[in-house]
Structures are given as structure tokens and as C-alpha cells.
């Protein structure tokens, strides 16, 4: 895998990319499981699909699938399409031709969080409950003490962790019903990511901290000093680092060996204009992408500490990032409604 992050030309012009302007904020973006299609969830209820190949023709705007905002989007773990959630309380399975079938609906609730496991399971946070859909069966877990504000599968897909007020809850979702495990930490947890090796669960809190639990030992740690709440967390593929947003540079906590206790985070990259709003570790290699509230986009390499700030046309805050499964393409969405797919192959 080769990405030319030191390519100085990228500071003047974007690498080969497809850019489309819409007039609705982008809430989420995702690639399909096979990497051939990319989709964007928009503030007018659309799930806008297009070929990942930036040279292929992009279809026109699609009719809205959700009646309000399409808030959440993931690649379908059981097909080549997508799964979306909206503020109309619906979770939809969206086929490549744009047709949608309803997986579940909860009137009056919002579907803000979706997660997928490669075994085909989908988890959705709907109000205070969490639903798991797999093989045509939908099961409900909860209710939690407050609305689910983040969720993620364990590495093996046997459990789902949900963030809420005063901590997180880990549910066993297999056929054997086990009582849920509670991990307590006071305050409101607003983001959650389970580490790629399954050992840690990290949350971002309303009070500008990161909280991380060791799942087996149930011990926890707290990282302070962020100037804003951390809404974006991303573990590297090898689980050695946890990237966090809300800093002017890439900020990675080291989890290899004895863990990050007593160590400062690794920080590298150019100081962007403003704070990083979204961070996404590369799915296979040591690269990382970060989007800023200023609209800047930065790519970095944790091994060489090199980075490049990509020239972006406008100053609208980046709201979402997604790497294609192979890691050669990156999807970017912003608050103004720009949809971008960048081809990073050298």
C-alpha cells in the first residue's frame, strides 16, 4: 500500500477527486462493504450514492429516503448497499438502486447511531434503546438511563457497548442471554469506540475528557486537557493508537505495551486552522485523515510524522470522513453540503 503523503503538489491542488455540491449539510458518509460505492447521508433526508471510482458517472440526486435528516449511515455488512438512520425514527436498508426497505421504525425517536459487524449484524441506537438486527431478526436491548449517544461492536461481534449518562453498558447479544455489564463514570458520554483488538472501550465526554475502560479488568483511565468535547474517536487497525479529535494536530494515545497511563499523547502534523472535528485512522496502514472546523483536511503518517494539509475550496466545517475498505479512497462531507471522494493512489 503506497500513499504519497509527502507529495507537495497536494498543497496546491487536491489529488484526483470527485466533488459534488448539494445544499444540505452532510451528516455521515460511508463506503459499501465491497468498496465499489460511496454514499452520503444528507440534511434533506437523501442517501446520495455514487460509484467510488471518481471517473465513473455520478447519478443525479435521489428522492429523500428519510422525512427529515438522514443522521446515520454505514455500509451494509450483509450486502453491497447501505444502512441509514433518520430523525423520522426509521432504520433503512438501502439497495444500490436507491430502493429502501425498513429494518425498524420507532415513531417520535431519532436514529443517530449505527454500527455494523462483518458477521452481518447491525446495531442502532434509537432513543434510550439499542436494537440489533441480524439475519432478519430484530432484538431490543435497554432502555438505558438516557439516550444512546454512541455504540460499537466488540471485535468478535458478540457484544455491543452503548454510551449514555454516567457511563457505558455492554450487552451480550449472542443467543445466550447474559446480564449487561455497566462501567460507570459520571457525566454525559457523547461518543464511543471499541478498540480494534477488543480490549478497550473509549468514550468522549461532554466535559472535554476521554475515558477509556479495560474491558477484562474493568479498570479505567481518564485523559483530560481538551479544549472542546471529543466527538470523534478512531482506533488504528493494529489497536496500538487511539486518535482523538478536538486538537489542532493529530493526537494519538499509545495503547501498545502497558498502555497510555502516565504518558503524553503522540502529537504530529501541521497545526490546522482551528480544531479537528473528525478523525479517521486508515483501515490497514499507519495513515490517518483529519477534518477541521475550518474546512481543512489533513493526511498524516504516524510512522514518519509527516503530514500534508490538502487545499480545500471553502471554509465549511468537515462533518464526516470515511476510508474505503482498501484504504485507497477517502470520502469527505462538510456542513455546507459538499461531497468529496479523493483517490489517493500514487
Amino acid at each position: 500500500m503506497k500513499l504519497d503523503l509527502a507529495n507537495p503538489a497536494w498543497q496546491q491542488t487536491l489529488p484526483p477527486a470527485r466533488s459534488l455540491a448539494t445544499d444540505a449539510p452532510v451528516a455521515a458518509c460511508a463506503f459499501s462493504r465491497d468498496g465499489n460505492t460511496v454514499a452520503f447521508a444528507l440534511g434533506d433526508g437523501q442517501v446520495r450514492q455514487m460509484p467510488a471510482d471518481i471517473k465513473a458517472a455520478a447519478p443525479d440526486a435521489a428522492p429523500p429516503l428519510h422525512s427529515g435528516v438522514a443522521l446515520a449511515l454505514i455500509g451494509d455488512p450483509a450486502g453491497d448497499g447501505f444502512v441509514s438512520g433518520g430523525d423520522d425514527g426509521r432504520v433503512l436498508r438501502v439497495a444500490l438502486d436507491g430502493t429502501a426497505t425498513e429494518l425498524l421504525t420507532q415513531k417520535g425517536k431519532w436514529v443517530e447511531h449505527l454500527a455494523a459487524h462483518r458477521n452481518g449484524a447491525i446495531a442502532a441506537g434509537v432513543g434510550r434503546a439499542m436494537f440489533v438486527a441480524k439475519d432478519g431478526e430484530v432484538r431490543e436491548f435497554g432502555p438505558h438511563q438516557s439516550t444512546v449517544a454512541g455504540l460499537d461492536f466488540s471485535k468478535d461481534g458478540s457484544r455491543v457497548a452503548c454510551a449514555h449518562y454516567d457511563g457505558i453498558t455492554v450487552w451480550s447479544i449472542g443467543q445466550v442471554v447474559l446480564p449487561p455489564r455497566r462501567f460507570a463514570w459520571r457525566g454525559s458520554h457523547v461518543a464511543l469506540k471499541w478498540s480494534t483488538d477488543g480490549k478497550f472501550i473509549a468514550t468522549g465526554t461532554q466535559e472535554n475528557d476521554i475515558h477509556v475502560w479495560r474491558v477484562a479488568q474493568a479498570t479505567d483511565m481518564r485523559m483530560q486537557g481538551y479544549p472542546a468535547k471529543v466527538k470523534s474517536l478512531s482506533w488504528t487497525a493494529d489497536a496500538r493508537f487511539l486518535y482523538t479529535s478536538s486538537q489542532p494536530v493529530f493526537t494519538a494515545w499509545p495503547f501498545a505495551g502497558k498502555g497510555p497511563e502516565g504518558k503524553p499523547p503522540l502529537q504530529f502534523g501541521d497545526e490546522g486552522a482551528g480544531l479537528m472535528t473528525v478523525v479517521a485512522a486508515h483501515p490497514t496502514a499507519e495513515f490517518v485523515a483529519g477534518g477541521y472546523d475550518s474546512g481543512e483536511l489533513q493526511l498524516g503518517d504516524i510512522k514518519t510524522k509527516r503530514s500534508v494539509v490538502l487545499k480545500m475550496a471553502d471554509g465549511s466545517a468537515i462533518t464526516c470522513l470515511a476510508w474505503a475498505p482498501g484504504g485507497f479512497r477517502l470520502a469527505v462531507g462538510n456542513d455546507r453540503g459538499d461531497l468529496l471522494v479523493i483517490d489517493l493512489r500514487r
Binding site: G43, W110, A149, G187
Partner: protein, 325 residues
């Protein structure tokens, strides 16, 4: 056609009041009247509104306690989430209305707008509007602290259902309200009938508009207050304020008395500063800024206002006087 899009912050009006006071009637009026404006409404009981409108969002009043362990530092996390979600919509709003349940403490709602950076960037708390049932107000005061708190927090009060009480009783209710909160504007209403510009876009929390909202802000007298009732008081001074001393005093005061102080605001003549220093607080949370410049020859006087429980007026006055040059 392009939707109205503005980089300005969307004003948020908080609507409190006991069950049955007339909040729903007021909301229905706001949503059905022809005013050419578009509002998002966040309600606690879905389906109560007569209007079928996709801009109505259901909220569960999810209050969380912040990690500092303080009982008054509570925030509506659901409101943060909902406002973030509303801002993702393609269609923008002229305003947001937040209805609270009848027994809600307005503190967490108000504090949400002091706490969260994203909420602060996209919206501004405009005013707290409290609807009061003139007939049942005294009974509600006896049922718990909620009715009193809702009056104490208010910028605007709709004294509603005035047709159901005698003029004498109405006066008693109004006097009681004034005893709790001397600074709110009171409108006597029937069936929640009110001109919308009396309650919307008031700028009651706008630091630049503190003077504008309260015409007699700099002229009302000193108040004595005893006992554990909720009351309002003001302190004024003509000598310039020492900023370091003031900050220390106010910091210590809020640390100790924060849970009892519902609202506070002030205009300060800082020693040597060409502009007014203005602040606005809810419990321990506070926003402050430099306001307009003093004019040549203008009397530079300072004034603080507190609305709260167990306020010791003499003690507060002495404390503030120690901050003067």
C-alpha cells in the same frame, strides 16, 4: 428556491409553567399564526400539540449532573443532541422553542446554553418565558419549589387566565410574582393571547442588550429580603470597581451560594476602563463581555442584580462595596 440561511445564531425561547397554565395553547398559537416565520418546537409530550408539524421534536428532559459533583451544575444533554441534529437540517429556522414539563427546574435548560460550545455557536438563549395560571398559582406554590423557581428564572411572565379570578386576587398573584422576581416583564393574558413580539426575540440573555431589556435596570432601589423565600435584589455603586477584587469576590460567592442564586446579571464600571463590563449568570455558570462605551460626562455607576433563595442583602452589599476603589 434557496432556503433562508444565516450564519447568525438561532434564538431559543424556553417556555416553562405548570401543567395546565397555558403553554400548549401558546405553542399552538405560535405555530398556527401567520407570521411568516419558521420555528422548531421541542416538546416534552408528543402529540399534545394540535398542529401536525414535522418541526415538532419530542424530548425526554434528560438532565445530567456534571462531573464537578455540584448539585446545581446540571445540563440538558438531550437538548444539546437535538439542537445539533436540528442544525443538520437543510431547512433552517427563525427560532427554536423549548417547552419544559410542568415540574421542570429551568436551571438545566438555561445552563445548557452556557455549557456547550456547539450549542453556543449555533444558537443563543433568547429568554425564559413562564406561563402562570392566575387561579391556581398560590396552590402550586405550596406544592413544591417548582412554581417559585419558574417565576424566579423568568424574563417574561404571562399571567394567564386572568378572566378566572377577581381583580383583587389577580393583584395578590401579581404582587407575589413581583416579590419573587422584580425584573421580569409581566403580561396579563387570557387563553395565552399575546403579541408574539412580546415574547420572542427579546435578547434577555444578550449581553449587549442587558440595558435595553430592563428599562429601569439602573433606577430601581435597594431591597430588603429575609427568610428562605426566593426574592430579587439589586446593589448599585457609584465608585469604580476593582476588577481583581470583584472577580475574587464573585468567584467565591458563586462557589458557596451558586445553588441558591438562580439568575444574576450586572453592569460594572471597571476602574480605568472606557467601556461597561457586563455579565449574566445562571447558578455558577456565567458569561461576560465588554459592553458599550461610557459617554463623556456620563455618571459611571455599577449595578448587580440577583434572583435567588436565602439572599442576604446586607452581606452581598458589603461584599460588593469591598470591591470598590
Amino acid at each position: 428556491m434557496a432556503s433562508p440561511q444565516s450564519s447568525a445564531q438561532v434564538p431559543v425561547t424556553v417556555l416553562t409553567g405548570y401543567l395546565g397554565a397555558g403553554k400548549t395553547t401558546l405553542l399552538n398559537r405560535i405555530l398556527s399564526e401567520q407570521h411568516g416565520k419558521k420555528y422548531a418546537v421541542i416538546v416534552n409530550e408528543f402529540g399534545e400539540l394540535g398542529v401536525d408539524n414535522d418541526l415538532v421534536v419530542n424530548a425526554d428532559e434528560e438532565v445530567f449532573e456534571m462531573n464537578n459533583g455540584c448539585i446545581c451544575c446540571t445540563v440538558r444533554g438531550d437538548l444539546i443532541r437535538i439542537i445539533e441534529g436540528l442544525m443538520k437540517r437543510k431547512d433552517k429556522f427563525d427560532g427554536i422553542l423549548v417547552e419544559t414539563t410542568g415540574l421542570a427546574d429551568p436551571g438545566p435548560v438555561a445552563q445548557t446554553f452556557f455549557t456547550d460550545d456547539d450549542v453556543k455557536a449555533r444558537t443563543r438563549l433568547d429568554a425564559i418565558v413562564t406561563v402562570i395560571d392566575a387561579k391556581h398559582f398560590f396552590g402550586q406554590l405550596e406544592q413544591g419549589s417548582e412554581a417559585e423557581q419558574q417565576v424566579a428564572f423568568a424574563d417574561v411572565i404571562l399571567l394567564n387566565k386572568t378572566d378566572l379570578v377577581s381583580p383583587d386576587d389577580l393583584k395578590k398573584v401579581e404582587d407575589k410574582i413581583r416579590g419573587i422576581n422584580r425584573y421580569a416583564r409581566i403580561f396579563r393574558t387570557q387563553k395565552s393571547q399575546i403579541e408574539l413580539d412580546a415574547i420572542l426575540d427579546k435578547g434577555a440573555f444578550d449581553l449587549a442588550r442587558i440595558l435595553e431589556f430592563e428599562p429601569d435596570f439602573l433606577h430601581s432601589g435597594h431591597d430588603h429580603n429575609h427568610g428562605d423565600e426566593v426574592a430579587s435584589l439589586s446593589i448599585s455603586a457609584d465608585r469604580p470597581v476593582d476588577p481583581d477584587k470583584f472577580q475574587k469576590w464573585m468567584g467565591a460567592l458563586l462557589q458557596i451560594k451558586g445553588p441558591d442564586i438562580f439568575r444574576s446579571k450586572g453592569i460594572l464600571a471597571i476602574d480605568g476602563a472606557p467601556r461597561r463590563y457586563v455579565y449574566q449568570g445562571v447558578h455558577m455558570m456565567m458569561d461576560s463581555d465588554w459592553g458599550s462605551a461610557w459617554k463623556d460626562g456620563e455618571a459611571r455607576s455599577s449595578k448587580l442584580v440577583f434572583i435567588g433563595r436565602n439572599l442576604d442583602g446586607d452581606n452581598l452589599k458589603r461584599g460588593f462595596e469591598d470591591c470598590l476603589k
